[in-house]
């Protein structure tokens, strides 16, 4: 009995020592408060493979392939990914990107959980990932709030959490390791800058009345894109007739657009839709009301501004029905694998990581838009471009 107890205490102290070593190494790495979280993750790795020195393992056994995916040859990493659902083409493309990147033959074991649009399912998935002892938890949070306790549980279990795509509220910032995704505010700013350029170009006088169809209230995409519009409207003297939520869903957007068309009878110049699926619904509603979507405001056409740039959205853009479609890149698998590599090698990782995105239109006149002094290109949509894209 006594022997057992001694043995246990020896092992325990060994573990504590290993733990403090890990923390020591990690301390230099990050001012970002997540050091503790990822350090604990490293500890587990150390105890799993005590012989292999960490840097060598990273240095020799990984390379980045042509698609920007980190291929691992060493120990397989288990990644738990809680996806929001399968509600749109965009979401499907992001799921496919994750599955293609974190394949077994790339050296990963991806546990994919589809939350079917429910936060409680995501919370359950995080708990399951913790029970399964995954190396990383990747979360695409459906809403910004309500994650504190789940993130804390993961932190206590020493599993680093990477938030992708949507955001969690800033108060929880120190509970996750890093965030990777789109700059929704910048997307909105670019769309508004494009509208400003269009209105300047056509020198359309008279009021600019905007119907604003918002996404699911409280989601990061909605907040960023809405704020951009509100600020641009204030700056340019645009009139926002109504801001209503279409929940990112085609049917709902069509219903609210139908009503707005009757309410403002012919007084709408611009419809600002916060995603492609809602734009489809708006286009249907406009056409049923005998209004042509387009860019010639002076001829009574209604300018439709959309986001996402899914294949279908770009097809509408090519037809000129969507005036400008600002991209929201769903292919976050490859950049995520590079972010994970940085974390594995103990590199300093920024809290917020953005990836590059495009903007598409068929209006000849506008080739760039400027936001905060920086120029962004606007790409012409061609059939070839649509064919080449992955989503």
């Amino acid at each position: 009995m006594k022997i057992l107890r001694t043995l246990a205490s020896v092992i325990l102290s060994g573990l504590v020592l290993a733990g403090s070593c890990g923390c020591g190494r990690q301390a230099g790495v990050g001012e970002d408060q997540t050091g503790a979280g990822s350090a604990a993750g490293m500890d587990r790795e150390k105890t799993d493979q005590p012989e292999a020195p960490e840097t060598e393992l990273q240095g020799q056994d990984c390379y980045i392939n042509a698609d920007g995916i980190v291929i691992r040859r060493g120990r397989q990493l288990t990644i738990g990914f809680s996806q929001i659902g399968a509600e749109s083409d965009w979401r499907l493309a992001s799921s496919a990107s994750m599955e293609n990147t974190f394949r077994i033959d790339n050296g990963y074991n991806l546990i994919f959980d589809n939350a079917q649009q429910k936060q409680e399912n995501q919370i359950k998935a995080i708990r399951e990932f913790i029970d399964q002892g995954v190396d990383y938890i990747v979360l695409d949070p459906i809403v910004e709030t309500g994650w504190t306790s789940s993130l804390r549980e993961a932190e206590e279990a020493g599993i680093p959490v990477i938030i992708v795509d949507r955001e969690v509220r800033p108060e929880d910032e120190n509970l996750y390791t890093a965030w990777l995704g789109s700059d929704f505010r910048l997307e909105g700013d670019r769309a508004c800058a494009w509208l400003e350029a269009l209105l300047n170009e056509t020198s359309a006088d008279g009021p600019v009345n905007i119907l604003h169809i918002q996404g699911t209230m409280g989601s990061s995409a909605q907040i960023g894109r809405s704020e951009a519009l509100f600020d641009a409207a204030k700056k340019n003297g645009w009139n926002i007739l109504q801001s209503v939520s279409g929940d990112f869903v085609q049917a709902k957007a069509k219903e609210v657009a139908e009503n707005a068309l009757k309410q403002f009878d012919g007084g709408i110049q611009v419809v600002y839709c916060e995603n492609d699926n809602m734009a489809y619904g708006v286009i249907e509603a406009l056409e049923e009301a005998g209004i042509t979507p387009g860019t010639r405001v002076s001829r009574g056409e209604v300018v439709i501004i959309s986001f996402d740039s899914a294949a279908e959205g770009l097809a509408f853009t090519m037809d000129g029905k969507i005036a400008v479609d600002t991209e929201c890149n769903p292919l976050y698998g490859p950049p995520l694998s590079r972010l994970i590599l940085s974390l594995e090698t103990g590199e300093q990782v920024k809290k917020k990581n953005y990836y590059e995105e495009g903007q598409f239109s068929t209006s000849e006149g506008i080739s760039t838009v400027t936001v905060d002094g920086k120029e962004y290109p606007v790409t012409m949509v061609t059939e070839e471009l649509i064919r080449k894209r992955a989503y």
């Binding site: 399968a86 509600e87 499907l92 079917q116 649009q117 869903v249 709902k252 009503n259 009757k262 049923e288």
Partner: protein, 356 residues
């Protein structure tokens, strides 16, 4: 015997209050339009609109109400029968709608295909398949309620939670898009009239003919009033209750196909969401007792359109979509309170005093 006037007949039937509620909801719009300086009847205007996609169509808020209220009205038919025969509600109809839509789209697109312009099977096969799926779900519910005598809410709770998930399974966890004009017809237009309105009208007419011309309506009510007494007097209560659930499932299937045709896709997570509650509410607003027994089909249909009229009115008044449910709740409370027994008794008493 003196022939009654139309009003007299209405007021003696149970339809008066549901109709008054509907008119009151609509009247709000007249007041609002006058207050905001518009044509007082602009809410009720129906015009012909030239469209780029569908030719000339009917256009106006009343058309919107009739069109958007279709699914709830179709569901309300089945729900009325279920409530009457079994004194319970079928809370699975919304999920069954989603399942039927998914099954129909899966048949039309082929398993695992997420977007298609070409139909994999003839349209009729897909649509009948979807409706058949509804019948199967109804039969499942019916067996549990009628044969195993499980409480309706518990029995239908199974499909309430499972049907949506089965639908997702059928669609391989995807939203299946069937971008085909033939499929879009059921949520589109037939000539100038939105097809959902016609489908609803057809369902209502056929069902009321069946209930009137056969003894089915009477059987359902008598089973609902007293199951044992009906059995003793020679009615097969089990079979009749089973039948109402099958019908309810079938109507859920039809509603599901209409809803999915509107967006030419099977969005399992959103189709029919919370619609079971609207259907139950429609039955209640129509002056039917949720305790079973006597029913009034016309009342339920009016109830369904009243709910949609409230929604459309709130849109017209510019109430934001996030706050609309609060106002909807307040209006529903008022309507239900007006129809409650104590209020009715009070009104009757006042009338008697007046007459004396």
């Amino acid at each position: 015997m003196k022939k009654k006037t139309l009003f007299g007949r209405l007021s003696s039937s149970n339809l008066l209050l549901p109709i008054v509620s509907l008119i009151l909801v609509m009247a709000v719009n007249i007041v609002f339009d006058i207050a905001s300086g518009n044509n007082p009847f602009s809410f009720f205007m129906i015009t012909l609109q030239n469209t780029t996609s569908n030719g000339v169509v009917l256009y106006g808020r009343i058309i919107d109400i009739l069109n958007r209220g279709s699914e709830a009205a179709i569901l309300a038919i089945g729900m009325t029968l279920v409530v009457s025969s079994s004194a319970g509600t079928d809370i699975s109809v919304g999920s069954v709608m989603s399942l039927c839509a998914s099954f129909c789209c899966m048949l039309l697109a082929g398993y695992g295909v997420s977007s298609t312009n070409e139909l994999a099977v003839p349209l009729v096969v897909g649509v009948l398949g979807g409706i058949l799926m509804g019948v199967v779900c109804g039969a499942f519910n019916g067996t549990l309620v009628a044969v195993f005598q499980i409480q309706p809410m518990v029995a239908t709770l199974i499909l309430y939670s499972a049907a949506r998930a089965i639908g997702l399974l059928l669609c391989n966890d995807l939203i299946v898009y069937v971008r085909n004009d033939a499929y879009a017809f059921f949520g589109g237009f037939l000539g100038p009239i939105p097809t959902p309105i016609l489908i609803t009208a057809l369902c209502v007419i056929v069902m009321s003919l069946v209930l009137r011309k056969t003894a089915l309506g009477m059987y359902i009510q008598s089973v609902g009033i007293n199951r044992r007494a009906s059995r003793i007097s020679g009615l097969n209560s089990t079979r009749i209750i089973f039948l109402t659930y099958v019908l309810c499932g079938m109507f859920a299937g039809i509603a599901g196909i209409v809803n999915s045709s509107r967006i030419t896709s099977a969005d399992s997570n959103n189709i029919g969401l919370y619609l079971e509650m609207d259907a139950i509410l429609a039955v209640a607003l129509g002056g039917n007792s949720l305790g079973g027994g006597r029913f009034n089909l016309a009342g339920s249909i009016i109830g369904a359109y009243t709910i949609q009229a409230i929604t459309t009115t709130l849109y017209a008044l510019g109430v934001s979509t996030t706050q609309a449910p609060v106002f909807k709740a307040i209006i529903v409370i008022l309507i239900v309170a007006i129809q409650s027994e104590p209020v009715k008794a009070y009104m009757k008493k006042r009338q008697a005093i007046k007459a004396a």
